[in-house]
């Protein structure tokens, strides 16, 4: 395996630009622990266990408690770890950019995301992202399609209720078709697929969560965070049960997190994959092309 220094140079520029963007927008850069004794349970994500605790699958477990202590706008670029995720778009160890805004919602985060990607493009002196032989214009209006409408359009029926069918059709029929003319937000997921997101006003079965796709590649996930403390506790318990059903080993209950979240303000947060962003800006079909080792 040889290192592509041209891609590494671009990756380095992307990270530098992302950092500048958030500093210019008045965000505080934070560093939070990589090892946690109490990871947040998720039905489809497995944390790597170490002798001293679990490696974080997302910095959420520490960044949200910072908001609860009064932080207003924070961001972080950190390594995250998810066991057994390995493919042309996945590594067990990857780099995440995560940012949060207190007293805000996912609409504002979509605006942040658009501005961020365009800012990076300008620093890289490009207007477009090339994916294979296609060019995706970053500076015309981005698309926004609701999850239900996307299933209707690409699968011929509304979002299925069966979990496997939902995910299987998502990866086979929907994701590959998103974000080829312009970047596309996929918005408003069924509530059961976003235990930590707030419900849509007037549409209680769907919640304020979005994913961003560019050229069929999932790049970011954001949501209006669920602020109701009792609901958070219930949803964490529910995720623990789903993990047990999936034969995943139980984690210690996240008491520390929940205790801290008692003062959590209405907020919104987004996670964006830096490796994926580097893949897009270097027209790399495989994640390995933007990694050192």
């Amino acid at each position: 395996m040889t290192v592509n220094f041209q891609n590494l140079a671009r990756r380095s520029e992307i990270i530098r630009a992302a950092r500048s963007f958030f500093h210019l927008e008045g965000f505080l850069e934070v560093e939070t622990p990589i090892i946690t004794p109490e990871p947040l349970p998720e039905a489809n994500i497995e944390a790597i266990r170490t002798e001293s605790g679990f490696l974080i699958t997302s910095p959420e477990v520490y960044m949200k408690p910072l908001l609860a202590q009064g932080a207003q706008k924070i961001f972080q670029i950190t390594k995250c770890f998810r066991k057994n995720e390995h493919g042309s778009r996945h590594r067990e160890e990857f780099t995440m950019l995560e940012w949060y805004r207190a007293h805000s919602d996912y609409t504002k985060l979509k605006e942040d995301t658009i501005k961020l990607v365009r800012f990076i493009a300008e620093v890289l002196n490009t207007q477009t992202i090339e994916r294979g032989d296609k060019k995706i214009d970053l500076f015309s209006n981005w698309e926004d399609i609701q999850v239900n409408a996307a299933y209707q359009k690409f699968a011929g029926h509304p979002a299925p209720t069966d979990d496997f069918q939902f995910d299987e059709e998502m990866t086979r029929l929907i994701e590959p078709n998103l974000g080829w003319n312009k970047p596309t937000f996929l918005s408003d997921y069924p509530v059961k697929y976003c235990p930590m997101s707030a419900a849509c006003p007037n549409v209680p079965n769907f919640c304020q969560r979005f994913e961003l796709y560019i050229g069929g590649l999932e790049l970011a996930n954001g949501c209006t965070e669920l602020a109701d403390w009792e609901k958070q506790r219930q949803n964490i318990e529910q995720e623990q049960q789903r993990r047990a059903q999936n034969n995943m080993q139980p984690y210690p209950f996240p008491n520390t997190f929940l205790e801290a979240m008692k003062t959590f303000p209405p907020s919104a947060g987004t996670a964006l994959g830096i490796d994926r962003l580097a893949m897009l800006f270097t027209n790399s079909p495989d994640i390995q092309s933007v990694l050192t080792f």
Binding site: E85, G87, D167, M170, N247
Partner: protein, 188 residues
Amino acid sequence: MYEASDLKKGIKIELEGEPYIITDFEFSKPGKGQAIYRVRMKNLLTGYSIDKSYRSNDKFQPANVSNLKLQYSYFDGTNYVFMDPETFENYSVNAELMEDKKDYLMENMEVDGTLYNEMVIDVTLPSFVEMKVTRSDPGVKGDTATNATKPATMETGLEIKVPLFVNEGDVIRIDTRTGEYLARVSTK
């Protein structure tokens, strides 16, 4: 037993009683969703490819497929009979499977066989074979066009195009993958 996460290109699995080889494999995982293993595989009996999606805890039986060297013995009127030169065991291969290959077969020729549940399901010929020309009209004198060829029949009945200078009784080398003449090995 394999789990979906063990699958990769080249692994052979059994599905509904038939052997498949995995030709393409992709791990996908939508957002907060579950891992989906998308697999393209070729049926080793029919040659047809299919696409399937699996969850990480789906399980698969390895296909009982192995490779062995075989020697061609004879055609019994219905089947082509090959022998394992180590065990002297005979394997009958039906004529349909040999349709495109039969004219290259010569007694004692060594081939690669694919065995599934003790049945030969595929035969791979050596890439190059040497054969005697049994019939070919003499080249027309004065025809000096480059790459000029004429038809020739080999000792096995195989018909190919050969250069004008090749005569009956010559031994030539043929590429079995393209059916093309490569060189004259000896002349009578």
